[in-house]
């Protein structure tokens, strides 16, 4: 087991890019390698030691034996754990854009807020964010039509706009509230939101399921009332209580399921 601890000593105004500092790349790096490493900042590279104090303990045979701990406010560190396939990254602070983007395995925990694009095009693994995220969590690369396709994102705080855009697999669980257009263009997968949703969940969705335990502001006209279900089972998970089930988005002949908590959304009954 190898533990790599990076403690922030100077916050750069221009974001650092950490796409090369993932367990798959650094599992055989010694302390010297980190000290000689130059991290991309803007169009240049600067020594990693300008920004972080380093500590490396133990050895690892492969990426799955690596644990990276980032201490401090990483609100200007982009691409944390981008494309990682194994190992663990813990961020004790905020994370910047693209945290956990394109990851295929392993685990990332952010003990703070994450900026936009957390878990973009995620294919596997687990991303847990103790705070909130902003827009496009679990989305596609802009312009692409294939978003997150596997793995699990757990959000303890709130989600921003267009959560799970073009979702084609995997699971997103939001414990807080969510802004507009959750699950837009989704074709597969599951989104669970425990808090309130402002408006329009599931716009242009073709398939997959969205379950909302809180109150919904505005429902899209593209959703057709299906039935009232009690204790539904969705994607092998059981939920207790009464839910209003809608099917949509009919504009795309979609067969997606939108489950709304019946108690909280009585006026829709």
């Amino acid at each position: 087991m190898k533990t790599i601890t990076l403690t922030l000593k100077k916050k750069s105004q221009i974001a650092l890019e950490f796409d090369e500092l993932i367990p798959d790349e650094v599992f055989d790096w010694e302390k010297d390698d980190f000290e000689n490493y130059q991290v991309p900042v803007g169009n240049k590279r600067f020594p990693l030691t300008d920004y972080f104090d380093l500590e490396v303990e133990g050895t690892a045979e492969g990426p799955e034996e690596v644990k990276m701990i980032l201490e401090g406010d990483c609100g200007r560190v982009k691409y944390i754990g981008c494309k990682m396939s194994a190992g663990e990254i813990i961020v004790n602070g905020d994370a910047d854009l693209h945290c956990g983007a394109e990851m295929t395995g392993g685990k990332i925990t952010v003990n703070g807020d994450a900026e936009s694009y957390a878990g973009r095009e995620m294919k596997g693994g687990e991303l847990e964010i103790m705070g909130s995220t902003r827009e496009f969590c679990g989305c596609s690369y802009i312009g692409d039509w294939r978003g997150m396709s596997g793995g699990k994102i757990t959000l303890h705080g709130n989600a921003g706009k267009q959560l799970g855009e073009c979702l084609s697999g995997g699971e997103i669980y939001v414990k807080g509230n969510c802004d507009i257009l959750a699950g837009i263009h989704m074709t597969k997968g599951f989104i669970q939101i425990d808090g309130d949703v402002t408006r329009w969940p599931g716009g242009q969705m073709k398939n997959g399921n969205i379950l909302i335990n809180g109150k919904l502001g505005i429902l899209l006209e593209g959703f057709v009332f299906d039935k009232i279900v009690k204790d539904p089972e969705i994607d092998g998970k059981s939920f207790s209580g009464k839910y209003i089930k809608y099917t949509g988005d009919i504009a795309l002949n979609g067969k997606g399921g939108l489950y709304l908590n019946a108690e909280k959304n009585r006026e829709l009954l």
């Binding site: 105004q13 221009i14 974001a15 890019e17 991309p40 900042v41 803007g42 169009n43 240049k44 982009k78 854009l97 693209h98 936009s116 694009y117 827009e135 496009f136 690369y141 802009i142 312009g143 039509w145 706009k161 267009q162 507009i180 257009l181 837009i184 263009h185 408006r199 329009w200 716009g203 242009q204 505005i218 899209l220 006209e221 593209g222 057709v224 009332f225 988005d249 009919i250 504009a251 795309l252 002949n253």
Partner: protein
Amino acid sequence: MAYEPPVTDYDEIVENCTCAFCGCNCDDLDFLVKDGHVVGVRHACRLGASKVMEDMDQRLLVPMIRDENGELQEVDWDTALDKAAELIAGAVRPIFYGWSETSIETMKHGIRLGELVGAVLDNQATICHGPSLQAVQNVGYPVATLGEIKNRADMIVYTGSNPMNSHPRHLARYTTFPRGWFRQRGRFDRTLVTMDPKYSDTAKMSDIWIGFEQNGDYGFYNAIRAALKGKEIDQDYVSGIPKEVIMELAEKMKNVQFGALYFGLGLTHTLSKQRNIDMAIEMLTDLNEYTKWVLTPMRGHFNVNGFNIFMAYEMGFPYGVDFCRGYQRYMNGETNTIDLLTRKECDVFMVIAADPGAHYPGGAVKHLAEIPVIQVDIHWGPSTEIADVVLPGSFIGVECGGTSYRMDGVPIYMKKAIDKPETCRDDEWIIRELLERVQKIKDEEAALASK
């Protein structure tokens, strides 16, 4: 408005010039020239004419550098270009913003410079039709040229746009009033629909006005699509519009022969941004099962579309292209000018033929005031007040020729009508000079490093 007598005191008429104002790129203008200045413009709208006609009182005429007292001081071209090249070569996160009021020929050198130093190249789409470009990447783009609309369209829809104020000749020259091959009676053969929360000047002259509530665009188009699929709408009002009106409108849109939808910033900059366009395009896809429908964004500047077409062709992405890692990247919120400025990441900003000082949000302008700004422009404006190096360019379509793209993607060569002021230079020359000077600095740095 007071009566203005026609201009009769001129030396010559330069015919078939192109207007350098909005995305209509009207190419039927006649400039009335006297003593090397444009004193009158025929056929143009008031906006275009006032831009083309003389405004020498605001014209930037000499290169300037801001001194230590904060005053802009006149310098020679070599000094100004060297100073600008030095700033660009030393930057860590430079942005080259603007390009929409200059020629494609200038952009050619701009891309090379951006690639050389690892800059972000962005244009006004980042604050106007960027969401449209994102939606087009997602769901495609049923497009027609303005000529086809003129000859064929029998229903014109303007949504989130007020062309009577912003593109005055759009209705007159291309869409609503002209007599086309299949629309011999002009206005009488067409139905004009405006969808806008405001009862705008365009709405006032429309046959149908749909005043949906602000931020309700996405829900409204979704309801039209549901109606097109044969669903009886459940809610009595969708986005503030009665369901009967929506059903009736869907029926009308289904039964036209050729429909054209034009959308503006009212659609791109409400709550659901790119998804409004996404939804509107998919609505047209549905309508195309019954009849013909096309759409075009109402582009603002005369060459804002040109930059997007040129960048998408050369680099694969239409705007906000980031070269900092040596290859091109594009990501909303990360490689766009406003985000880089409000996050205070940018350290050198070059503005070419644009006025961020006037158009950007406060936080972004505040950061601009703190960093070195290089301005390549023809007019004094709010951006000049925050600029550290000012390089006076020339007026494309009046003082020098150049290629631009109309809003529907038709390239138009804008010809030269008069000579530029002696102390000014062409934009193309300025950017090429900067490229050569930055290249020289980079070569020297590389030679030093190899030693």
